[in-house]
Each structure stands twice: as C-alpha cells, then as structure tokens.
C-alpha cells in the first residue's frame, strides 16, 4: 500500500521512461535501420522565390551508389495531392480564407529558401548529399516578398491570392469597441512585434519509409507528435497510400514544441521513394535543414489600444495584427493567429469590449505554425505589455491596476467578449503567491543596491491565461477545424492482472508513461510497474489526435479514465457473479472488489484472471477485460497564473542578466508535480529565449541569416537563472481529472514578464524582442 500512496495522484514519481534514456537505450527514428536501407538527400531551393525551369540529374545519376533522383514533377505525375491546411478560417466577409496550393515537392515554382523540390536516393548519406550537389537546376529568380508588414502592398506571390492576403479575420464587436475607446478617459497605444522563432527541438526531424511489396503495406517511422493525424493526412489528402495500408510509428521523439505536429514534405517523399524503389529509405535532417524547413513560430506585427476609465478600469481593447503565415499554410498555420490568439485577448480581465482584426499574409519564408504556446504567447504579450504601460502612464502600481480588473472567483463561469467561457480560476491567488515568492515588497531595496553597483534593476509581471485541452470537437469544427479534437484511450487488462494502456496522445518528453500510469495505478489499485503505456504507433493504438495544446492529460487522460470506468464496471459484474450477489452490492476500492458490509472481497487480479479463464462466469457477459473510450471535451481548459521577472542591466555594456524568474501557475489538479515543474522550467527557458536571445532573421532577398546554432541563439545553461516555480489549484470543472494542462504556460507568460522588467529597468516603454545587449546598449546611449 505504501507503494500505491507513493505513486498516487499528486506524487512526484520518478519517471518510468528515464531508465532507457539515461542508459542510451532510447530509440529515436534515426536509430532504426533496415536491411537494404538507402538514404535520401533533398534538393532545396537556394532562392526565396523562383521559377523552376529544369532539373538535370544526369551527372548525379551517373555517380556510383546513386539509385534515383526524384522530383516534384515525378511526384505530381504519380498523382500525389497537396499538403492540406487542417483549419479553414472564415474571413470577416464570410468567405473562406484563400489557400495557396502546397505541393509536397515543388514542381514549377519555389517559394522559400530551403523548399524541397526533389530528392536523391543513394547507398549512403554521404553519396546522396554529394550527388544532390551535382544535380543541375535552372531557376529564374523572382522578387521575394519577405517583410510581412509590407506583404499586402507587394507583388502577389501566389496566383489568385490578391495582396498576399490569406485572410482578413476579426473577432469581437468593432463598433462597440471603437465607441468605448472614444469615450475612454485614457487610451494607451502600443506597437509591438512578436519575433519570429525557430523551434529547434534537439532531435532533428527524420523519417524512415518501408514498403512491403508482398502485402502492399507502407510503414513510416517518423518524428511526429501525432502519428494518427499524420496517417490520416497522408492517406486522405496526399494519397500516399490507403489508411489501412499505412502504419505510422513515432518512436521516441526528441522534443517537438509544436514543430513535429505538422505533415512535412520530407516524410511524404521518403515513403513514396521507398515504394518506388522497393528499398527502405531513410532521411535525417541536418540542423541546417531544420532551420530552413521546420515550421517557424510567432512573427506578428501588432498595433494595440487599451482604453481605461477614471478608476483605471479597462473599457476596451482594440488589436490589429499582421501575422506572417510563411510561403504556404502549414497544417494548423491558419488557426494559430486567429482562434488561438484573438480568443485569448481578454486575458485575466473583465474588459467588456474587445475587437481584434488579423491579416494573415503569405511571404517567401518558411511556413509558420504552432510553436509552444501557439497564439497564446502572442496574445499574452499584447495584453500584458499594454496593461503594464497603461499603469506606467497612469502612475499606478501595475499590480494594483491588474487586481482592479481581474475576473474574480465569483464571476465564473465567465463569458469573455472574444468567444470563450472560462470555467474556473483564482487569479489573485497566483498573483499573491508570485509576489511573495519574488519578495516584491523588497524590490525597491534591491533596485537601490543595484544602482549603487552601477546596474539598473527592473521588475515585471505577466498575468497570463491560456486555452488548452484542445478541443471541443463540435465547436472546433464549427470554427473551421477539419478534424475532431477528442482523444481515444484503451485499457487492456491482461489475464495476470497487469495492464496495458493505449493512448492516442504522444509523449516526446512530457513523461506520459509515468503520469498516465499513475492515473491507472491509482484507479485500479495496481502497482505502477504493472502498468505499461503504448503510444505513437498507428499499428497498435486505435486512433488519436496526438499531443499539442497541452491536451494530453486533460483530453487523453480523460479518455483513459473513461476506459477505466468501463473496466471497473465490468469487473464489478464478474465479482458479483463470483460472490453470488447483485452488482449493486459490489464496491471497488484500493484494488479490491468488495461485497458491501462483509469481509468478502476479490482482488483485481482474481477478477482479471476470471475474465480470461471464465470457469465461473456470468452467462450474459463476454469474456475478457479490455475497454476503450473516446473523450470529447465540453470546453477548453484555462490554465492561468502569474510570472514575475527581475533583471539587472549593466549600463556600460548593455548586458542584461535575468536574475529572478518566478512562475506560479494554476494547472488544476496535478498528477505528478515533478513532471509539471519540469514542463514549466522548459517553457520558461523558451520564453526567456524569445525575450532575450532568439530571432529568425531573413534578409531582404529572403535568405535566412540565422541558419545555424551559431547564428540563432537558443539559451544555454549559463544564460538562465534558477527558476522559482509553484502552483495554486482550482480544479478544472469539466473533466474527470480536474487537470488543465501544463506544457505551454512557461513559454506563454514569461516573455511579457521579462520585457516588462527590462523596460522598467531602462525606463522605456518598448524595446523589441529579442532584447540583445546591442539593442539595450543603443537604448541606453540614445
């Protein structure tokens, strides 16, 4: 029993999956190899925009070891479809967004530097790469559109997409918002950019395609956060293979952060090449390819206005954003700057009037899609920066201004003016705890001490909210989603009483093998070591929508709870029969089916055994003890919290030190706080990276200037401080675990906190992210 308690809900169980990772026995896509395997290298456009005139592969094909050079033309001739966008956004005027065709391999025109238009397959990686250099391609270079702010006034990139405008989308009441702004006692205005980021999961993307000519089965090992969705898209839209002849396996995956949600050209081409050549084909990205061709994140240009009345109450927020979608719509690229952004602009506040308009534009840059937080960091950045500046303009304490406007516990459920209904929360509880943890009251003394040492110290808050647990299917589909966003779970009790659990979510660092096992072990009263989680394989797991939007536990875990309840219900019937009573008299607790008011009981293992060896068994019951459930959430979940940063700037050099970073988050009920804190740490690091270090830069010709880890600065250990993280709890009201999701919060709240701290230190209203020492030094000298 001690073990059960130590591994129960809320226990910091050490991760089950760690043993293989710390001993070098993890198995990532590139670690798999097949007999007869050959290797792909992609032909990529050196131009941001060009006509593809001709591809001459004769020299490459003559090289020893080269098996084939396949092009976009060949793929089109084989009848492949385009890569689809999974979310159709409706424009302001009611029409559908304007989608530009996205062939997996370009065949007539290339639209970003690094876009693949073909591949070489050869006996080794080295030969494939050398041969790719010998393919002679004629291009006619065209003028590239790079700057999203100018895209609508530039030449059209795609035929039929006027002004490079994919959509003009709005949410909220424009006239009421304008009227409230006009009548406001004070209006704060702010222009912001949300810097373009490159996700950089440490494992580069990879794919291994295998074709079995005997059965016609295709197997694709790939770095995916959602293998079933990958299979669905490859089968239904791209027409790679029928769904029942395609198995997608996402084994251990080395981080995703969104970038491995999407269906990419490379895995599509690899499975196609495997069939064509009847050889297993493997491709593993070099980091340079990850920079060029993984979907990027963020990249907004925004003008915002916040109106306040005499008492400092927010009366209106108006936001105009241009969102860079890149050259093509990636799988969820359209939804990120709309439904995952505009809907979050109420933040934690009772702003009665909100209107947001978003221009989603195409440019000749890599596609932009979800990156940790996806839309919600951008929304938080707008809200929490403008609120901070409003406080400064009004000479108010930024904490007090926030408090005055916060939605209070008594206000839930709270309908925002931007479509969401928040179910629960206690925002001041998180705020208070965070203020205490950072010793807010002691800040003036710390600032004074820093000044004596010639440093400028600043403090800044960010009170964020996010919508997670994607998503209620009916609502999502009514808003344009092409798929439901429920999740599946299966609990298969084995005859010996051990349990195999199947989930359609995917763990690529989140520790599902442990957290989900805790949920199952606690409910069934079995040892956590007797629970095994299976995920990431369409051949083993029935269906699923994968992992993103901090959904795995709240949606996937809830599906597993549904299956557990069915297992217990069936177990009670079996136990009732064996104990010669009615099912109503059987209680299940702590792993025992007990006859009420007696000392008679059967263990979970005994009932499992009886289910598979039904010697003494109810006549009207099927043998076996294995149940499935689907769970479709009623609402989003709403994690929220307060992040506070403290920075110190060296006035001489502009070097900024992030000295304190506190996060207090309300994720609802925690299953494993150790894992939850780890998720927050990772998110904070990425948020700090966005604020201080990271930016994707394209030059005016559309060449990526930050194409390696030497030019694009992701945080290293010595760039970051120790983090102080804690939680508050209001259980989610509409899922059985009370859980809200914790994967993205760190990256959502922290950039605004850090930038508020930095601008506080410098005494300016804005400095653009990333706030490098050079920018800071210039701000100080200017």
């Amino acid at each position: 029993m001690a073990e059960a308690i130590e591994s129960g809900i809320g226990a910091p169980v050490r991760r089950k999956e760690d043993m293989r990772f710390i001993t070098g026995e993890g198995r990532y896509t590139d670690d798999f190899s097949q007999r007869g395997q050959v290797y792909a290298a992609f032909l990529r456009s050196p131009y941001a925009r060009a006509r593809l005139d001709s591809v001459d592969a004769s020299e490459a094909l003559a090289m020893e070891g080269v098996l084939a050079v396949l092009t976009g033309q060949d793929m089109a001739a084989d009848g492949f479809g385009d890569l689809p966008c999974g979310w159709t956004v409706k424009q302001k005027d009611g029409s559908d967004m304007v989608t530009a065709a996205h062939p997996p391999l370009a065949h007539s025109i290339v639209n970003y530097a690094g876009e693949p238009y073909g591949l070489v397959v050869a006996s080794s990686v080295a030969v494939a790469r050398r041969a790719a250099e010998r393919v002679i391609t004629e291009f006619t270079e065209l003028d590239a559109v790079v700057n999203p702010a100018l895209a609508m006034d530039s030449e059209d990139i795609h035929a039929g997409v006027v002004g490079n405008l994919c959509y003009d989308w709005e949410l909220g009441d424009a006239s009421a918002t304008d009227a409230a702004l006009a009548a406001a006692a004070h209006v704060t205005r702010l222009d912001l950019t949300n810097n373009r980021l490159i996700p950089n999961a440490m494992e580069p993307r990879a794919a291994l395609g295998i074709y079995d000519p005997g059965t016609g089965e295709h197997t694709l090992y790939t770095t995916s956060q959602n293998p079933h969705l990958e299979r669905l898209v490859l089968s239904a839209f791209v027409k790679v293979a029928p769904e029942h002849k395609l198995r997608v396996i996402a084994p251990d995956v080395g981080g995703g952060f969104g970038s491995k949600i999407f269906v990419y050209p490379e895995e599509t081409a690899v499975i196609w090449a495997a069939r064509k050549l009847r050889r297993p084909v493997k491709w593993t990205a070099e980091r340079g390819e990850s920079f060029l061709a993984d979907a990027h994140g963020r990249d907004h240009v925004t003008h915002a206005q916040l109106g306040l009345d005499e008492q400092g109450r927010f009366v209106a927020l108006k936001v105009q954003t241009t969102a860079n979608l890149g050259a093509y719509l990636s799988l969820f690229g359209s939804s990120v700057p709309t439904y995952l952004y505009g809907t979050l602009l109420a933040g934690q506040y009772k702003t009665p009037n909100i209107h947001v308009e978003v221009h989603g534009v195409y440019t000749n840059t890599a596609p932009v899609d979800a990156y940790r937080g996806a839309g919600r960091p951008e929304a938080t950045y707008v809200v929490e920066r403008i609120v901070e500046i409003a406080a400064r303009e009004l000479g108010m304490d930024p904490v007090e201004l926030r408090r005055r406007n916060m939605i209070q516990p008594a206000d839930f459920p709270y309908q925002t003016p931007v479509a969401l209904v928040y179910d629960t929360g206690d925002y001041e509880a998180s705020l208070d705890k965070a203020l205490q943890l950072i010793d807010y009251a002691g800040f003036p003394a710390r600032r004074a001490a820093a000044a004596v040492a010639g440093k400028r110290r600043g403090i800044g808050l960010s009170c964020y909210i996010e919508a997670c647990g994607l998503a209620p299917s009916k609502l999502a589909i009514s808003l344009g989603a092409g798929v439901g966003l429920y999740e599946s779970g299966e609990v298969r009790v084995n005859p010996t009483g051990s349990v195999t659990v199947f989930t359609g979510t995917h763990s690529h660092g989140q520790g599902h093998e442990t957290t989900f096992a805790q949920v199952v072990a606690a409910r069934l009263g079995v040892d956590i070591d007797d629970v095994e989680l299976v995920h990431g394989d369409t051949g083993r797991v029935e269906f699923g929508l994968g992992t993103y939007g901090s959904r795995s536990l709240s949606v996937g875990g809830s599906a597993i709870v549904g299956a557990l309840e069915k297992v217990i219900a069936k177990g009670r019937r079996i136990a009732a029969h064996m104990l010669e009573t009615d099912v109503e008299n059987i209680d299940f607790e702590e792993g025992q089916f007990r006859l009420r008011d007696s000392n008679r009981a059967l263990s979970f293992g005994e009932v499992a055994f009886a289910a598979y060896v039904p010697a003494d068994y109810p006549e009207d019951l099927e043998p076996g003890l294995s149940e499935k459930a689907f769970y479709d959430p009623e609402n989003f979940t709403y994690p929220a919290g307060t992040h506070i940063a403290e920075v110190e700037v060296d006035v001489e050099t502009g070097v900024v030190a992030l000295v304190n970073l506190v996060a207090v988050d309300d994720f609802g009920i925690l299953i494993n706080p150790l894992i939850v804190h780890g998720q927050v740490h990772g998110g904070l690091a990425q948020g700090a990276g966005q604020a201080l270090l990271e930016q994707a830069v394209y030059d005016e010709y559309g060449q990526l200037q930050t194409g390696s880890l030497m030019d694009y600065c992701i945080p290293r250990a010595d760039d970051l401080p120790d983090f102080l993280v804690d939680t508050t709890v209001t259980p989610c009201t509409h899922n059985p675990l009370g859980a809200k999701g914790c994967g993205e919060a760190g990256a959502i709240g922290s950039p605004a906190a850090i930038m508020n701290a930095l601008t506080d230190a410098l005494g300016v209203n804005d400095i653009s992210m990333p706030a490098t020492s050079e920018k800071i030094w210039r701000a100080l000298s200017g």
Binding site: F21, I22, I675, R716, A717, L720
Partner: protein, 153 residues
C-alpha cells in the same frame, strides 16, 4: 583505412573511410545509438563521449584521430541495475525530458565533476554551456550534477 580502438572496454578494428567521424563510427558501425547528433556545427553537445577519459564532441573528431584511444559512451558507464551516480541523479532530479540531449549531457557532466573541485550552481552552468537542452531549462540538470558530484568523489 583501419582504425583500432577500445569502446566501452571492448576492442574493435574497423575499416572506415578517411573522413568518417567518430560519431558515425559509433552509431553506424558499432550501432551504439545512445550517442546522438543534434547539429552540424559542433554546437549542441548531444554527441559527447569520453576519449581517454575526457569529454569530446564526437562529431568533431575523426575516427582516425581515435585510433588507439579508449572511448566511453553512455552505454558504457552503467546499467539499469548499476547506474553511474550521474545517471541516477539525472533520474532522481528529473533532469531529462525527451532524453535526446541526455547522453551527451551526462558524459559532459561526468567530465565536469571529475575535472573540477567545489562546483557551485554557477560553475555547473558555465561548465555545461557546450551542451544544449531544449526541454528542461537546465534547472534540474544543475540539481542533478550537484547531487552526483559528492557521490563521485
């Protein structure tokens, strides 16, 4: 060319191309896939192994340079039943998430502890700046290194 080296205690003589990198020898020829490749510019440290007891980025060492050397990879420092203190500390402190950086991080951390006295949090951070982790934010990695350090003395 032929290269002879000792990897995790066993001697191997292998025929490799002159430009073969040590990491490729390990991963492709010996199938020791615990050593990872995270970049193409010697920046990430995912490929870190020990060469004659010191940590090196195996993507920046030619197999030929390792001729005659003793190489230790993540597979060679401990087993599930007998973990190296650094491996155990990584698990205990939740110093890994996706696990991709972990082998290199552990190999670097072992060398760091062995080659320094009196590590504090700042020194660990500076000592590990050649190893990138995108998941953990490093906080728990620092905890793990400081937990393992006294056990390794």
């Amino acid at each position: 060319m032929e290269v002879t080296l000792t990897v995790n205690g066993s001697q191997h003589s292998l025929e490799v191309a002159e430009n073969t990198l040590l990491v490729d020898l390990l991963r492709e020829h010996l199938r020791l896939t615990g050593t990872h490749v995270g970049c193409d510019t010697s920046q990430c440290g995912a490929c870190t192994v020990h060469l004659d007891g010191r940590s090196v980025k195996s993507c920046s060492v030619l197999a030929a340079q390792a001729d005659g050397a003793e190489i230790t990879t993540i597979e060679g420092i401990g087993s599930p039943d007998d973990l190296h203190p650094m491996q155990a500390a990584f698990r205990e402190c939740h110093a890994l998430q996706c696990g991709f950086c972990t082998p290199g991080m552990i190999m670097s951390a072992i060398d760091l502890v062995q080659s320094s006295d009196d590590l504090d949090r700042r020194a660990v951070r500076e000592g590990l700046e050649g190893n990138l982790c995108r998941c953990t934010g490093y906080h728990n990695i620092v905890d793990a290194v400081l937990r393992a350090a006294p056990q390794m003395k």
